[in-house]
């Protein structure tokens, strides 16, 4: 039914926002940056506090540096959310990959360590995919469960390698902490990565199927799509991406721990949701999630400046997810 003309303004505004989420998001990001500058003059524009430079490349570089691993984990959420799923094991997988890589590098050398780290992500992802695609466990429960098991495995593994010591491969610290022209080297990894994700979503048959499954699994089925194949490939990919994000994060933090990337999990979901990806599937944009990750980093800086305690930040992220989702339900009448 083409009733576009008679739709209430809220619905039309909602549609416009959904069609071009990037523009309001970028505006919102700038508004936050301006607000931050007002709160703490000089942090973004050093010239105002009498130092050199119109825009602080250091500040911008730092913002981007810490937004990159978050944006990479957000890719796991965007891709799985396209099919109305979620990957709650992504944070732990990143941690495991980082830990495995750091400890194995000193024993077997860098290349095998990196490969094994990525393989662990792949394994967890395949298990998730089997659970979601074949056994049909809700993705949330499934990924939560594999995350728990992975945590246990990590602890056992840690006891095994306790004397091996940890070593952060130099190229990872170069990626994580180095800068080129003031911008973090992480972009060397992230720019091709994000281009790949966007290409995958838009210009491949696999990407089409992700949207199709989330939009209407029945329609996909009657078009001949065997959904379990897609789910296994999807969650395997998500595990791989999470592992990659963990390796980069290791390069940034340079100190492996048993809960390294875990705190990034919730923000990664929030970044995807803020970026216009529907948790109900069928709609999403990775570019939006990248801006969402930047927004969250700025917000985080701001909340730190305001000395907002960690608890309030966690609660706020939860509320943001709920509010955006509720608004989405209201606007579209979805479910």
């Amino acid at each position: 039914m083409s009733t576009t003309d008679t739709d209430p303004p809220l619905l039309r505004l909602g549609r416009a926002m959904r069609d071009n989420p990037l523009i309001p998001l970028v505006l919102f990001l700038f508004a936050l940056v301006v607000l931050l500058e007002v709160l703490r003059p000089g942090i973004v524009m050093p010239i105002r506090s009498g130092r050199d430079g119109l825009i602080s490349t250091f500040w911008v570089g730092n913002l981007i540096k810490f937004a990159i691993p978050l944006a990479m984990l957000a890719a796991c959420q965007v891709l799985t959310m396209l099919t109305a799923g979620i990957d709650l094991s992504a944070g732990i997988v990143a941690t495991v990959a980082a830990f495995v890589c750091a400890t194995l590098s000193s024993i077997w050398g860098v290349a095998p360590a990196v490969l094994i780290a990525l393989a662990t992500g792949l394994v967890v992802g395949v298990v998730n995919g089997v659970g979601v695609g074949i056994v049909r466990v809700h993705p949330l429960i499934m990924t939560l469960g594999t995350g728990l098991i992975a945590t246990g495995c990590l602890q056992v593994y840690q006891r095994l390698v306790i004397n091996a010591g940890a070593e952060v491969p130099t190229f990872l610290s170069w990626l994580g902490t180095g800068r080129t022209l003031g911008m973090p080297n992480g972009l060397y990894l992230f720019v091709p990565f994000s281009v790949f994700v966007i290409w995958l979503m838009r210009y491949t048959g696999f990407g089409r199927l992700l949207f199709a499954l989330g939009s209407n699994e029945n329609a996909a089925k009657l078009s001949g799509v065997r959904s379990w194949q897609v789910y296994i490939a999807l969650y395997a990919l998500s595990g791989l991406i999470a592992a990659l994000a963990g390796l980069l994060y290791l390069g940034i933090i340079r100190q492996p721990s048993l809960s390294l990337a875990n705190p990034l999990l919730l923000p990664s979901v929030a970044a995807a949701v803020i970026g216009g990806t529907s948790i109900f599937g069928g709609r999403g944009s990775y570019a939006g999630a990248i801006v969402g990750a930047l927004i969250l980093r700025v917000l985080d800086t701001m909340l730190t400046l305001l000395q907002m305690p960690e608890g309030a930040r966690t609660a706020l992220f939860g509320l943001i997810i709920l509010a955006v989702t509720a608004l989405y339900v209201r606007i579209t009448g979805a479910r």
Binding site: T204, G205, L209, N216, N218, A219, A220, K221, G282
Partner: protein
Amino acid sequence: MNDIAALDASGISKSFGAVRALTDAHLRVAAGEVVALMGANGAGKSTFVKIITGALRPDTGKVMIRGQEAHVGSPAQARRSGLVPVYQEPSLIPDLDVGDNLRLGDTPVAAFQSWTEKLGVPDVRLSDMISDLPLATLRILDLARSLAAEPDVLLLDEMTAALPTDLVERVLKVVRERANAGMGVIYVSHRFTEISELCDRASVLRDGQTVGDLPIEPGVEEKAVELMLGQSLNLSRQRSSEDRKVLGGTPRLSAKDLAAGPKLTDVSFDLYSGEVLGVVALEGQGQDELFDVLSGFQRPTAGQIEVDGSPVNFGHPADAISAGLTIVPGDRSEALLAERSVRENIALPFAAQVRNWGPLRLRKERSRVDYAIDRLQIDTRAKGEVQRLSGGNQQKVTIGRWLAAGVQTLLLFDPTRGIDVRTKRQIYPLARELAENGAAVLFYTSELEEVALACDRAIVIFNGRVVAEIDAADADEQTLMRAAYGLMNAEGTA
């Protein structure tokens, strides 16, 4: 006292978005009267029932019960105001026992038990779990529960559909008794034998309008059928039987004694390349299951499907598709990615197989999608999101999906339901053209005039069985309607 109707619904209209389901429906039931509510598929019957029972609010008009306007916002409120419905599906809670179900609705147990006894299921215990009881018993329990609430108006919606004959007799007898004691009854049904046994009057609905009231007398069946069809448009027959090809050899698709679920019991037919075979049936006669089985959504419980003479076994629609059987389902929302573009919707089957997961071959895709859009004349002004297209264009998209991929056997399940006349007129010749180019088309329709317009011949399914096969030349609506109501024996076959 007598001039106050038990139920008086007048001037009811209701639209869903741009679709007008009811334009002017009315129904008056006096105390002690049993009125049949009739109408062909899509006449607005179910919407009307929902409005009367309070599940939907009408746009205009009001429902009065015993002279009081019933402000029904929920089934609970309708119940309190004196109207009790018995629905097609039992509204008992499967995981509770009978006693708990009664307590849930504050039904007096003694009255309930006396009714179950009268209705012929005396051995039901209060401790029986609902999910352990057979469907027929549940219908009776539902009715007993409703009668125990001593309603002013009782609405029975196709409630005899799953009942064995002896129980039907009991139900009709008890309901008649209650009516004679002053209860008003609305009886929604397809079954003439029951209607003529039970009812005083039949109210007929067509295209969202109440078009007539018929006293129940001998010969009422014919009049009712006529009213339900309306002054039919008498569209000039687009086809004559002369241009029929002589078909022979191995059938493209052959169903042998197919059965599935409780509704589809035994259906056989042959479908040849180059023909459009119509399927005619009232709602719920097993046609849904038939199409589910043919398209690979459901496995048959008995029987065999053969494609080009060799038996096939579908575990997934993908299997059916690789055997060339593709479906356009009745509910467009089942087939469409509502939020995605026309192009993505049409191109969906291209990406289905793992070997096509890689980069899209955009040029090839575009040419094939454009071919489908052209062929079907899809209005693509709102191509960004399929849900913004009109119903007719949406339906074209679901058909176009298979045109772009190349059609062998097309299963059309009521493809013209709820779409505009212009699009309908495009769909009939399309089905014919496809057949002429060598495809085989199975065409279920709830609109009888379409059989003559689009099909070569038609099978009629009643109660899960093929009851008639009619040549398109003889398939006027009267004949089809009579056959669909089980009023014609198989000797009417051409």
